[in-house]
Symmetry: C2
Subunit: 195 residues, 2 copies
């Protein structure tokens, strides 16, 4: 039985796992879970992931693992996507925790508001807009000084951050005044062979 990935095809958090699996050439089975219809909160799914979220993977010989960033960090172990040096890995971790704490909730929240919910741009939560703009500014400054988020090499921190950043304009954020960010999106998409 191969690795099983429980996911919702609309979720950027699930994209992170797909991008990593495909980049590393790892086979997997996709099991669709409709999070918008509440399938992540059913007793059946909570037995798979008690956190009630997608994505979650079931790994042969190991078991279940939740949280997109923990999943891609696990999958990348021993590959060039995870720095071998402990200090470099810690700096990559800082960007992955920053994504989880200061980026995803705001950027993905605005994208969801305008796409899945079909609401107009001017009804976005002002707090999420402000924090999302701040996050994109921090990325623009970072990527003005380094080709990749964690420094000189593509890592899972880029995969974590590309998932929603590449769709930021769907959430009403303007990437035009952020040339370093746009160049990084193109570079990451080319490296990961996604469009």
């Amino acid at each position: 039985m191969p690795l099983v990935l429980y996911g919702d095809h609309r979720s950027g958090n699930c994209d992170k796992v797909v991008f990593t699996l495909n980049y590393l050439g790892l086979p997997y089975e996709w099991v669709e879970v409709d999070s918008l219809a509440g399938e992540t909160r059913t007793e059946r799914y909570l037995r798979i992931n008690p956190m009630g979220q997608i994505p979650c993977i079931d790994v042969p010989g190991h078991g279940l693992l939740a949280q997109s960033n923990a999943i891609i960090r696990f999958l990348a172990d021993g590959s060039p996507l995870l720095p071998a040096d402990a200090w470099a890995r810690s700096n990559m971790d800082a960007w992955m925790f920053w994504e989880a704490n200061n980026h995803e909730f705001f950027i993905a929240g605005c994208i969801g508001h305008m796409t899945y919910m079909g609401q107009p741009k001017d009804t976005r939560d002002p707090m999420r807009v402000r924090r999302g703009e701040e996050a994109l500014d921090i990325m623009e400054r970072r990527l003005g000084g380094a080709p990749w988020i964690a420094g000189e090499a593509l890592t899972v921190a880029d995969i974590s951050l590309i998932a929603y950043t590449r769709h930021a304009e769907r959430g009403g954020f303007d990437l035009a005044p952020r040339p370093s960010l746009r160049a990084w999106i193109a570079r990451a998409q080319a490296a990961l062979r996604i469009t």
Copy 2:
């Protein structure tokens, strides 16, 4: 020059680092940064941490590292606070990313609203209240089946989650109906020698 910790003494995220340093017996210098007064957004501080947040550490022989969870994960490397087994470490990581994405923003947000901002309980952001209650319920279920967040041993995932959970009642959350959570708080505080 010892390890330097830039922090705000009121911040639970900084508590995580202090608890870890003290538990491991590592010496450090504390540099106070007044985040409520905007000191984390000054040019001077942004040279230290471009993410504009506390905590941040300056490690002899290495340099600067941001994000509380990345910091404590780095500090714990090679100690019993970080599982040696890769799969166990990944499951610990899942709880740390969950803390960053599904716990801190909601619980700490409500605590900040009622303490630093001095606002009454009934003016808390309803979204943060709902998500905070959900997070505490997930912890209660988890800790009904395991003594520590990542399983059989105290890890930095416990330190990450104890920082704000132990003060959840200051944010208007009721721990009385959550006996497993309360027992874990007592157990973790005793292990970490904090009160």
